[in-house]
């Protein structure tokens, strides 16, 4: 949203004196475009939702089982509102898990699917769909209209939150960056890209987290929080973080708590 506004502004600034009106016109056009794209019939992210629905009930793997017995925290097979409360503690693994970790756990233990293949296709690309992106889109969509409310009650959940918070401020690697370098001040931007402030609870965090997973127009793929964080670390010039590692879940828990009370509307559509 901010990118579009910033782009519109830059176009306007370049044009000189008539810039204000042009910015308003451009913004109106973009707003129409955004409304069109957030229509479920027009947002390609809903193709992932449909594929995810099929994958959820499809019998697969060495155990020829579906995922319908998978407990995402609200009970086996219960999908409504499950995403809004993740990441959370699961007694059967003794771990705090995000949606993707939990799905991987169910795929492995209940279905016996080839996890190397799941991991290889963790991020969709042209001609290669991602089961994870499809399932996350489907399941997260079942929390659309609800608000983030991870329990943060179990000691392990509190520990994960605290670790996520430390990771958020942890400066490292080739450019000395942390998440906070870009996301701890209000109204800042990189080039023309607006940066949400995520070090404190509030609107920025709510709007940001409430719109993931999202269909990314620039990538022609629906992306999850695992991918978002992967790409953040990439741009920070860090080494590639391990997919489904506990640190990414801890960071996600920190972020969803900053977004507490924010409404989930997913899959959304973004740049």
């Amino acid at each position: 949203m901010r990118v579009f506004m910033a782009l519109a502004m830059s176009v306007a600034l370049g044009a000189g004196s008539a810039h204000a009106q042009q910015a308003i016109d451009t913004e109106k056009e973009l707003e129409k475009y955004r409304q069109m794209m957030s229509d479920p019939m027009s947002n390609p992210g809903f193709l992932n939702v449909d594929r995810g629905e099929v994958l959820w009930s499809q019998k697969r793997g060495s155990k020829n089982a579906s995922l319908e017995g998978c407990d995402l925290g609200e009970g086996p097979g219960k999908l409504e509102g499950a995403f809004a409360k993740l990441p959370r503690f699961f007694a059967d693994t003794g771990k705090v898990m995000d949606l993707e970790q939990r799905l991987a756990h169910c795929m492995e233990t209940q279905q016996g699917v080839d996890m190397a293949d799941i991991t290889r296709r963790r991020f969709g690309a042209p001609g290669r769909t991602s089961d994870m992106e499809d399932l996350v889109a489907f399941i997260a969509n079942k929390s659309s209209g609800m608000k983030y409310s991870a329990p943060l009650a179990h000691p392990k959940e509190k520990e994960a939150f605290a670790i996520g918070q430390e990771l958020f401020f942890r400066r490292s690697d080739f450019m000395d960056f942390s998440c906070a370098t870009c996301h701890a001040e209000e109204g800042k931007r990189i080039r023309l890209q607006g940066l949400p402030q995520l070090n404190k609870a509030g609107k920025d965090a709510q709007v940001t987290m409430g719109s993931w997973p999202t269909y990314r127009v620039s990538q022609s793929q629906t992306r999850t929080m695992q991918h978002r964080l992967w790409d953040c670390y990439r741009q920070m010039r860090s080494p590639e973080p391990v997919y489904l590692s506990d640190g990414l879940t801890a960071l996600t828990l920190f972020l969803v708590k900053q977004a507490e009370g924010g409404e989930i509307q997913v899959p959304s559509i973004k740049r």
């Binding site: 080039r191 080494p239 391990v242």
Partner: protein, 205 residues
């Protein structure tokens, strides 16, 4: 000693975030945090062996959320100052046109990049040439940087040193330590300094 500093950093961190978040959040066990980060990045990528992953300065800036007590501030400043290498011949001014190119180039250094000459990506955070409209705001505007400093040679040397290691000037600065990490070469830093200090550079127009 180590334990002391870690509990101090946890305290500082929670305090910095304010009471709304600090409540009910346990202190992080340092060992546990290390386990988690180790599992996120279990091995050094091939070709990255010489890269610094987590040094003493990064650790202390993380601990204190970049807001260092005076004693730590002085320690970091002295340590970082000692890393700066000025060009052997004392000339810090290269080719401003080449500097302009690097300032606008954000490629290089990520785990999806092939080895290449890294861009400096100055515009990600700074305004420089006033006619370049796509600039970020994390850092201050550098418009008229050299002109405002009357093109003074000692100011140019200070700018070179700041690009080389920002934390020698401002401990825990947001700006990467480009020379210290070897992210940019001496030649590149000279070109960027010239971009700031050449009277013909669009930065000063």
């Amino acid at each position: 000693m180590k334990k002391l500093s870690i509990s101090a950093f946890v305290f500082a961190g929670l305090w910095a975030l304010g009471p709304a978040l600090a409540q009910d959040v346990p202190k992080v066990d340092a060992k546990r945090l290390e386990e988690v980060t180790k599992a996120m990045w279990p091995k050094t990528p091939e070709g990255w062996e010489k890269r610094i992953s987590y040094d003493e300065t990064q650790a202390v800036c993380s601990q204190f959320r970049n807001d260092l007590p005076q004693a730590e501030f002085d320690k970091v400043k002295a340590r970082e100052l000692a890393t700066i290498k000025l060009p052997a011949d004392g000339n810090v001014l290269g080719d401003w046109k080449s500097g302009r190119r690097f300032a606008n180039d954000g490629r290089g250094g990520t785990f999806t990049d092939r080895p290449m000459t890294n861009g400096a990506n100055c515009y990600a955070c700074h305004q420089m040439d006033r006619f370049e409209l796509s600039y970020g705001t994390l850092g201050p505007s550098l418009v008229n940087y050299g002109k405002d400093r009357k093109y003074a040679p000692e100011e140019a040397r200070a700018a070179y040193a700041k690009i080389y290691n920002s934390m020698a000037v401002m401990p825990c600065s947001t700006m990467p330590r480009f020379g210290y990490h070897g992210f940019l070469t001496e030649e590149q830093i000279k070109d960027l300094t010239a971009f700031l200090f050449d009277p013909e550079s669009p930065v000063n127009k």
